[in-house]
Amino acid sequence: MANDDREKSERSVSRRAFLKGGAIATGALSAALIPAVGAEAQLPDAVELDPRHSTVALKVNGVAYRKEIPNRTTLLQFLREDLKLTGTKMGCDRMQCGACTVIVNGRNVYSCTTLAVEAAGGEVLTIEGLAKDDVLHPIQQAFVEHSGYQCGFCTSGQIMSTKVFLDRMPNPTEDQARLALSGNLCRCAAYKKILESVMAASRLTRA
């Protein structure tokens, strides 16, 4: 395994050097705006050059991005390191705590164990995309009003899971809410306030 990794690492360096040579202008870190639809069809040129890298095109919070990345890049790394969207957190890195929860094509996923290439062509919604024009989303408003957090580190994940849950079940019972959020841990154990926030959010979103 170590040898494989090393080979990969060396190759990735040569790949970068090759890119620097100007064969493909990837726009460095600033993502080029392209239409998200049909993005996958435009990938093969990069894949042919280095099978360990891919160009992913996807929409995050309504903005289209296209970027060449190592295949093993997780969606969490892509969001935090490439796009600098740090509202999504890494808690356990093993899809157990839920701090990294984001929404991909309407489903809540653990971004720490989702590869960015798996989301290619898709639409990703993160905590940064919920508020519109500085107006908080009703779920965010409910979490503020009911203090559904203590340290705040799990909060973006809790809110994103709540979003998917309420989209599907606008008028839930408390038991349904507990079950829906069972994939999101809060080590401060602010569960009671989180539940209050979710129930309040369901009332606000229906209103």
Binding site: D93, C151, I159
Partner: protein, 752 residues
């Protein structure tokens, strides 16, 4: 302007719900050329390092440098009190202890580089349990001791309860792992963003490692994604590595542990072993207690000594012990260096005394709540270390009110009726008290500082020595400052904690963050309002706060002040074991009801009622959150979080898949939390009381309720089980009482 005592939103509410509230690792993008660090991990719990060869690592693409002991310009030791924690050890003292660190352009390259370092070791025998340490005479401290009265009652008492109790530790599992980013400024000085509860000590340790004066180092903590004591000391080594990396390479360095590294490398709540003998009168009054406590301190001292002191102080919980000898000793084992964790040694000792009382109740065929109440401190009593138990009457007041509001007596009957009708599922209900001493046990830590700045437009910046880790300190500080200045909260901005604003601060710990820093903020605000008063009086009544500030500026009156507070009237003599280590006591009680399934040993927490004395709450939402969260974290420690080490000393429970954390299913199905009313605490900021740690120990009510339920499977037998009360342990405890009572017999032997 009334803001204190109001249920105001969290100081960073909008930041938390929008993702804009930043934690240390979120800042990485601000540092171009940032290097990432990964440790070279020793694969032995105890070994001598024979050689380190980093030649292959150096040619690994992306690797910039390797940090070893030879790079340390100062004292390469991060031990906080005793200097016993070499950053680059010659002798490996726990499994996966870092022996070198690799710096690279990416975390991945650093990890690959670390795997290229060839380290040779000579394995040595390892001590992995408390019993092995006792057998080998391996200790980190001498025996600490507090005694009073005549222990001869142990021989003459009507009832003698003897035994031992083993208590597991607890992983902090702060959701944000240890993180530091260090960089060099234009003057060559080093600044560090660190997820630390104790920025001043982090600064001190970095200065020590680099061999520079402390004014060369600035440490800042924006906020932490949880800490719970786990970043009181354990943040220092990560910060020191980051700073050393900058020192050597000139580039900014990030040290951010992955979850698996964090769980393998950082200290936890101390596992304990208690051995005891107690004498009781026939009506259940404790007459004498001899208690021996051993903690598993791991490889270095850390805070283990003051933690053991707090265990000695709290072996009474809320009970008057007329004759007692309690001795504590910290064992040295080849494990992570165990450290502070919410309660700081208090919880372990309090579980032990509750266990002893419960056993006595069963032996005397008295309800446990009756025995508990009979042994309460009364007004005028003193503790075994000679401190008067001020406010002792609150113990009984809380007890009686909670029994009433929770309908305790009525529900006991309902539980008994339920149990009479069910053979394989039994319920138990228990009420337990908490008395918890507030102050750092090391007296000199009990000081706080603040720097309040007002600008000419009437906007306010508050700096103070405390750190925000989710406990709501900044929310309370903002309320306290607004209240003290008589302005709206929106005018007050609480600044990130920095060592260049308030120096020589204490850790934000011991539940004392608001008491110390809040009082310092009040002190600063009073100075300023004292100066502004005459200015305001000279202006028309319609003058705004901003008008007053502008006028004061023009009259050349300073609009800023430093505040300071030191806790009065506390002292302790460790040699005599006598003193007044605590400024006051926090009180509370909880009633919990559980249902235990004999087939699986699993239990459901049906209902918990809590009554907590928080004084005059500064921030009711924050305090309620601390009580609910502290209680559930305690339930985790006592019923499901089990740390396991394998035979090689490796932490076997190194992720949330093997280490079970409280989730939604551990929240009581009915959960009633109330504050004691009319409970002003004189001499504390705005009459409030500390709330961070005490609620954790309310979870003992769950352990005792489980004991009641297990007992219901037998016929009066004494029920004992180690902690945590996992389903496995409870399953076997149920088997034992069933066998003991002869109701059921099993031919298959079972492990104890």
């Amino acid at each position: 302007m009334k803001t204190a005592g109001q249920p105001v939103p969290h100081e960073s509410a909008n930041g938390h719900v929008t993702g804009e509230a930043l934690y240390t690792d979120d800042l990485a993008g601000r540092f171009p050329g940032l290097l990432h660090a990964w440790p070279v991990l020793a694969p032995h719990a105890h070994a001598r390092v024979i050689s380190l060869d980093a030649a292959l690592a150096r040619v690994e693409p992306g690797v910039i440098d390797i940090l070893t002991g030879a790079d340390v310009p100062g004292d390469g030791n991060t031990g906080p009190s005793r200097h016993d924690e070499p950053l680059f050890p010659d002798e490996v003292m726990f499994h996966q202890q870092p022996v070198a660190w690799v710096l690279a352009d990416t975390l991945e390259a650093a990890r690959l580089g670390a795997s290229r370092v060839i380290a040779k070791y000579e394995p040595l025998p390892a001590i992995l349990t408390i019993q092995e340490a006792i057998d080998a005479g391996s200790y980190l401290t001498d025996s600490l001791r507090i005694a009073r009265g005549d222990l001869s009652a142990l021989e003459s008492s009507a009832l003698r309860v003897e035994g031992e109790l083993s208590l597991g530790g607890q992983e902090h599992f702060y959701l944000e792992t240890q993180a530091s980013i260090a960089w060099r400024d234009e003057s060559g000085a080093i600044s560090v963003h660190s997820s630390t509860q104790h920025p001043s000590e982090t600064q001190e340790v970095i200065a020590r490692v680099l061999g520079v004066p402390r004014h060369h180092i600035t440490v800042e903590c924006l906020r932490m994604g949880g800490a719970f004591g786990g970043k009181e000391v354990q943040a220092n080594a990560c910060a020191a590595i980051a700073a050393l990396g900058v020192w050597k390479t000139g580039r900014a360095v990030s040290v951010r542990l992955t979850r698996q590294l964090d769980m393998a490398l950082t200290g936890k709540r101390h596992p304990y072993l208690a051995r005891y003998a107690a004498g009781f009168s026939s009506d259940g009054r404790i007459e004498a207690l001899r208690l021996l406590l051993y903690s598993d301190g791991g490889w270095s001292l850390d805070l283990s000594e003051p933690i053991m002191w707090r265990s000695l102080f709290h072996c009474d919980n809320a009970y008057h012990l007329p004759a007692v000898e309690v001795t504590g000793r910290v064992c040295r084992t080849h494990k992570t260096s165990q450290t502070a964790f919410r309660g700081f040694g208090g919880p372990q000792a309090m579980v032990v005394i509750e266990d002893i009382l419960a056993q006595a109740a069963q032996r005397l065929s008295l309800p446990a709540h009756v025995i508990r109440e009979r042994n309460f401190y009364r007004e005028g009593d003193t503790t075994h270390y000679g401190q008067e138990v001020e406010g002792a009457d609150r113990i009984l007041t809380i007890w009686q009110r909670l029994k009433k509001t929770s309908r305790f007596d009525e529900r006991r009957s309902v539980v008994a009726a339920f149990n009479a009708q069910h053979a394989h599922v039994k319920r138990g209900i228990a009420i337990t008290p908490v008395k918890f001493g507030i102050s750092f046990t090391a007296t000199f830590f009990n000081q706080g500082g603040a720097l309040v700045l007002i600008y000419r437009d009437g906007s306010v910046q508050v700096n103070h020595g405390g750190t925000e880790m989710g406990q709501g300190l900044f929310t309370k500080i903002r309320q306290i400052a607004a209240e003290s200045l008589g302005v709206a909260e929106e005018r007050v901005r609480v600044m990130p904690t920095r060592t260049d604003k308030v120096p020589n601060t204490s850790a934000t710990a011991a539940s004392a963050g608001t008491d110390l820093n809040g009082a310092a903020v009040v002190d600063a605000c009073r100075q300023i309002t004292g100066r502004l008063g005459p200015v305001a009086a000279s202006l028309p009544a319609s003058a705004t706060f901003a008008d007053v500030c502008e006028a004061a500026y023009r009259q050349r009156i300073p609009l800023f002040a430093q505040g300071y507070y030191k806790t009065p009237d506390i002292h302790f003599d460790p040699v005599a074991g006598r003193g007044r280590p605590f400024y006051y006591f926090a009180y509370g009680a909880a009633v919990s009801e559980v249902e235990v399934d004999a087939f699986t040993g699993a239990h459901r927490l049906l209902r918990t009622d809590i009554l907590e004395d928080v004084g005059d709450s500064v921030s009711p939402i924050v305090d309620r959150g601390q009580i609910e969260g502290g209680f559930i974290q305690g339930v985790g420690w006592l019923t499901l979080e089990e740390l396991l080490w394998d035979d090689n000393g490796r932490v076997a429970t190194d992720s949330a898949s093997t280490y079970k954390l409280p989730s939604w299913s551990e929240v009581p199905e009915v959960f009633e939390v109330n504050f004691l009313e009319r409970a002003t605490q004189p001499g504390v900021v705005l009459g409030s009381k500390a709330v961070g740690e005490p609620p954790l120990m309310l979870a003992i009510s769950v352990r005792e309720a489980i004991r009641e339920a297990v007992a219901a499977f037998g016929h009066g037998d004494v029920v004992t089980f180690a902690s945590p009360a996992t389903p496995e342990r409870i399953f076997f405890a149920v088997r034992r009482v069933r066998m003991g009572s002869g109701v059921f017999t099993f031919s298959v032997p079972h492990p104890l």
